[in-house]
């Protein structure tokens, strides 16, 4: 035990504080979102808030039990936990689907969603596989294994028809990027073997994940704005098309970076940067131009309608977009300081205008009742938590702990980004819980255990694990 004390540098109190705060806010919010006037007692196990508190209790208990285990044992138990969850994921495929997804494993009145736990075990397993390698860079063998594990689990989730969790799994690619995964071999295969060029490495290949992210983001922005018209007071009688404005903005941004490079960059890298900026600029303009041209001139109107519907440019308020529309109305009607706790009009359990208001659309209840002050605070809280976890990740000496911590950050980020994004109408509706907020035992327990393992690993960071 004395050994344990020496190696333990302590728990990260900021993370504990933020998570505790989030869990508390979550309970307060569920008490309003799922309030049952016949059962006002907070700990009534027949209500959602009672159950949620029970889940928190179980989650904390399990998490604390796990965190009593030495970090090294946690690492060693990882494969067993991973295999168990994978088996559960396969078992689940033989159950009756609920709401079109085979994700529930019911035991009596309670059910668990193995897919919720699979994020945790895959994060651990990814860390296990990558840290197996002792060198600074990842070996091809462990990289292949890591990719196989992640993609294999993703396929199981895809068969379950659980789009949300499937998307969350792409978070692991960011983590691999941090660990130096490169897609260069694939790019080089095409450029050198097929096209006969002679690249040693390409920027696109090395930074493939963030580049892909930027490309997707840019594409969506282009699709959103390309057809719109904008008028300016200094240009009366002329309305500029959106695609033209986008190209102007991109050109201005790149001109500025070009100028900064010319003026401030070190002489050594100036030339290289200049050509990089030029190439990226040409690629960007090409991308925007290609997407705009395709959207405006190639696509049929019904295809455009489908894209517009997906982007939320046109809304089928009382039909396909019913859920999103009601959630947006709830969020938007919160105003600056909200309508007041348990005073929600749209998202209250009595009026039921917002469906799934205790799970996927819990953010709309919170935003309606607490307004911009509340919702912005929650965004800030999550952002601080995420950055804090990255800070924790980067101070780890063991690769296992670092990879795991980065995975936790990215998983929470995906949940937060997708859930809040759909509640405020900038992402299509994808059913995925908001960590510590949404009602749901599996989700709550897996997030709590996830955080507690992280804290445990961090508390033993002075020890050099494998």
């Amino acid at each position: 035990m004395s050994n344990f004390r020496e190696k333990t540098v302590g728990w990260d109190w900021l993370t504990i504080l933020i998570v505790a705060l989030l869990v508390l806010m979550g309970i307060v919010n569920i008490y309003s979102a799922a309030f049952n006037p016949d059962r006002p007692f907070l700990f009534d196990l027949k209500t959602m808030y009672g159950k949620q508190i029970m889940w928190i209790g179980i989650g904390l208990f399990l998490g604390i039990v796990i965190s009593l285990i030495d970090a090294e044992y946690i690492r060693k138990l990882t494969p067993a936990a991973f295999v168990t969850v994978v088996i559960l994921l396969i078992v689940v495929l033989f159950t009756e689907p609920i709401n079109g997804a085979r994700s529930w494993l019911g035991i009596g009145p309670f059910g668990v969603q193995p897919s919720e736990f699979s994020k945790l075990t895959t994060a651990l397993m990814l860390a296990y596989v990558i840290s197996d390698n002792r060198g600074k860079l990842i070996s091809k063998k462990s990289l292949t294994l890591a990719l196989a594990l992640v993609i294999g689990t993703m396929l199981l989730i895809l068969i379950q028809n659980d789009t949300g969790t499937f998307l969350v799994f792409t978070a692991f690619f960011f983590v691999m990027y941090r660990e130096g995964i490169t897609f260069d071999p694939i790019i080089l295969f095409f450029s050198n073997r097929v096209l006969g060029l002679r690249f040693k490495h390409t920027l696109v290949g090395i930074h493939f994940i963030p580049v892909l992210f930027v490309v997707i983001f840019l594409s969506i922005i282009t699709l959103y704005f390309t057809e719109s018209r904008h008028t300016f007071s200094f240009l009366p009688g002329y309305d500029a098309p959106g695609w033209m404005l986008l190209l102007i903005i991109i050109t201005v941004l790149f001109s500025v970076s070009f100028f900064i490079n010319q003026s401030f960059a070190a002489q050594r890298s100036k030339k290289k940067m200049r050509s990089a900026i030029l190439i990226v600029y040409i690629v960007t303009v090409g991308l925007v131009g290609l997407i705009s041209y395709t959207y405006l001139n190639v696509l049929q109107s019904h295809q455009k309608d489908r894209i517009d519907l997906w982007l939320g440019k046109i809304q089928d308020q009382d039909g396909k977009d019913y859920n999103r529309n009601r959630a947006l109305a709830a969020v938007g009607s919160g105003g600056f300081s909200g309508v007041g706790y348990k005073e929600a009009i749209l998202s209250s359990p009595r009026s039921q205008h917002v469906p799934e208001s205790e799970t996927d659309f819990i953010f709309s209840v919170y935003s309606e009742e607490w307004g911009f002050l509340g919702s912005a605070s929650l965004v800030v809280l999550f952002t601080i938590l995420l950055i804090r976890i990255i800070v924790i990740a980067e101070r780890q000496k063991s690769r296992f702990a670092r990879v795991y911590a980065n995975s936790v950050a990215m998983i929470i980020f995906y949940h937060f980004g997708i859930n809040v994004g759909m509640n405020i109408g900038i992402i299509p509706v994808i059913g995925i819980p908001l960590p510590f907020f949404s009602y749901g035992g599996s989700s709550m327990m897996s997030f709590l255990i996830m955080i507690l393992i992280l804290l445990k690993l961090d508390s033993q960071r002075k020890e050099v694990l494998a």
Binding site: Y177, R326, F336, T383, A409
Partner: protein
């Protein structure tokens, strides 16, 4: 390659998303009001509250059309829990089968046809919603509901809802008030902002004419509703709510006692009695016989059982005879012809024409050697010659052109009496009467192919001339007023507004006041002098002036007509009585008129034998 710098990618990503989310939240929640409006659209609902209809009072302030509270037995299907149909059937007193039938019926009632814009085919859409209230039983009286209400709490999902319907303290005046019925599609479309399916709307009479006033103003209540349309809360503590306003009361010129008496006298007879106050044009009584008890047509339950019965009745109780039946006026029209002749100067008060009986028949009477005597004896040939002088004034060498010009002039006179023109009054369904004019005869015989001899029957109120009983009564009022009238109307004032402006307009006929004494003397004599035709119209101590008529009826027995006013000096009542198929005017119409006038002027009847003779007489079996 420094991989540690890649953490910046994460941190920038988190910050980027955090900033975008915050900005978006600020825009949605603080900057843009769109979503607050949307929330209102989604959750706010306006409920309209129907006020009871305006009340009708008679000229003495007696309530004659009131409201009564009835109850609908409502239900919401979603709220019904394990309905014990047997117990329920015992409670509401209909069979178990009928209960199932009724549920099916309610669902079916809400079928609605819609036409597809693309294919043009009709498809049936059902508007029934299990979470919305529907009426299981409609229009239950207080007695009926009180039996049910006691045990209603045992049947979840059912509740009572009060509603207001008409109530008539007197079983009279149905033809005046009209009735209400559930609104039809076209009526609904005429005012979508006010009416809703199931509302009652005035279908005839005053209920229809004064629909806008009587319906009042609907109140609104803004509530918050759930996604299934259920009430959740009042909105803004009811600050946006408006109260329903009952329509203003209508004060009628009708004297309900006189009206009831008129209906009593006209029992078992076909015809009309119209009484007018000459100094105002207010209608004192407007009897249409046969009539029906207005309480028979209250609410859809009553209408369902009684409407077809009344509609199919061969005596047509729905037909408002006083205003819609156009009859040849018969001899009472001689009064008009005399006045026109005097005004035109084609005769003097002392003019004399021989009772030749060559062109038109007559009865035996002392010589008609003045206008007054001609009216007193109702001499047909006299008016034949007199009217000939009006029509054929000899201004043209062509006999035919002369007649056309004469008739055109005569038509102007008739129109100034309100005959053959559209009356500007508040009586729904009122007809204009028929005054044949130049075009009428040109169309019939061809231009310049007719002359006075062709149209001579009109001289004595036969032929093509037709008047409504209301116009006949107004003729009596014109004579009583020495040449002017106020448009006969039913409603004196709306609410506390006082007399309606449009009825204060004095309408002057083309006859100067100086010509009336002669005619009045004739009418006085017709009633009060030995050889008068209307001796049965006499009233003890009151001087009545009247003129009988016997309208020839090619389809059967002649119609008995009488018009009169009383007292002679400062007349208070002008009246016309028209009894179908009753023969000579002096025999039946005159005594009825006198009884009405006596009742109105003195409040009692001095000659009970005369009254009994009328009450016992039946004419309706003629057509049966």
């Amino acid at each position: 390659m420094n991989l540690e710098n890649r953490r910046l990618v994460f941190i920038l990503l988190f910050l980027f998303v955090g900033i975008i989310f915050t900005a978006r939240l600020f825009y949605m929640q603080v900057a843009d009001d769109k979503w607050i409006e949307r929330a209102g659209e989604v959750a706010k609902k306006k409920i309209t509250i129907k006020p009871p209809r305006g009340i009708l009072y008679d000229r003495n302030g007696v309530k004659i059309v009131a409201n009564k509270t009835y109850y609908n037995l409502m239900f919401i299907e979603d709220d019904i829990e394990d309905l014990d149909t047997l117990a329920f059937s015992k409670l509401i007193g209909i069979s178990v089968d009928s209960i199932h039938q009724r549920f099916a019926e309610i669902r079916k009632e809400l079928d609605r046809k819609t036409r597809s814009k693309t294919t043009g085919n009709d498809t049936v859409v059902n508007d029934y919603r299990t979470y919305l209230p529907n009426a299981f039983l409609k229009e239950l009286s207080a007695d009926e509901i009180s039996n049910i209400a006691m045990d209603l709490s045992e049947f979840k999902g059912f509740y009572e809802e009060p509603m207001s319907m008409r109530d008539y303290p007197y079983p009279n005046g149905a033809n005046i008030f009209g009735y209400l019925n559930e609104i039809s599609g076209p009526e609904l479309n005429s005012d979508r902002r006010f009416y809703r399916v199931g509302d009652f709307i005035g279908r005839s009479g005053l209920e229809k004419y004064y629909e806008y006033e009587l319906r009042g103003k609907k109140g609104t209540k803004v509530i918050l509703t759930s996604s299934r349309g259920k009430l959740v809360d009042n909105f803004a503590e009811g600050k946006l709510d408006t109260n329903a306003q009952q329509g203003p009361p209508l004060h009628l010129g009708i004297d309900i006692i006189l009206q009831a008496y008129g209906e009593q006298l006209m029992k078992n007879k076909l015809g009309s009695v119209v009484a007018i106050e000459p100094s105002t044009g207010e209608i004192l009584a407007m009897v249409s016989a046969p009539n029906y008890d207005p309480n028979l047509m209250v609410g859809s339950r009553n209408i369902r059982t009684n409407y077809m019965k009344l509609y199919k009745d061969s005596l047509k109780p729905f037909y408002p005879r006083p205003l819609a039946a156009e009859y040849p006026p018969g001899s009472i029209f001689k009064v008009v012809q005399a006045l026109v002749g005097l005004q035109e100067g084609v005769i003097t008060p002392d003019a004399s024409f021989p009772c030749t009986k060559s062109w038109v028949g007559c009865h035996n009477h002392p010589p008609a050697n003045s206008v007054a005597k001609a009216i007193q004896f109702s001499c047909n040939p006299y008016f034949y010659y007199e009217v000939k002088k009006i029509i054929q004034q000899g201004k043209h060498s062509s006999h035919f052109k002369d007649a056309a010009e004469g008739l055109a002039l005569w038509e102007k006179y008739m129109n100034s009496f309100g005959f053959g023109i559209r009356p500007e009054t508040d009586i729904f369904g009122l007809r204009n009467g028929v005054i044949p004019n130049v075009d009428f005869y040109n169309h019939w015989y061809g231009e310049y192919r007719w002359a006075f001899s062709t149209i001579r029957s009109n001289s004595i109120g036969q032929g093509e001339v037709k008047l409504t009983p209301l116009q006949m009564a107004n003729l009596a009022a014109i004579v009583a007023n020495d040449g002017y009238y106020y448009e006969p109307h039913l409603v004196k004032s709306i609410g506390k507004d006082g007399p309606q402006d449009k009825f204060k307009v004095k309408k002057q006929t083309m006859i100067d006041a100086k010509h009336f004494p002669v005619v009045k003397e004739g009418m006085r004599a017709a009633v009060n002098d030995p050889h008068g035709t209307a001796r049965r119209a006499r009233i003890k101590d009151i001087v009545v002036a009247g003129k009988t008529g016997t309208a020839q009826n090619p389809h059967g027995e002649d119609h008995s007509v009488f018009m009169a006013f009383a007292p002679l000096e400062n007349p208070k009542i002008a009246i016309a009585v028209f009894v179908e198929n009753a023969g000579f005017g002096g025999t039946w119409a005159a005594p009825i008129a006198s009884l009405m006038m006596e009742k109105y002027l003195t409040g009692e009847i001095s000659d009970s034998i005369k009254e009994k003779r009328i009450l016992d007489q039946r004419f309706t079996n003629i057509n049966e």
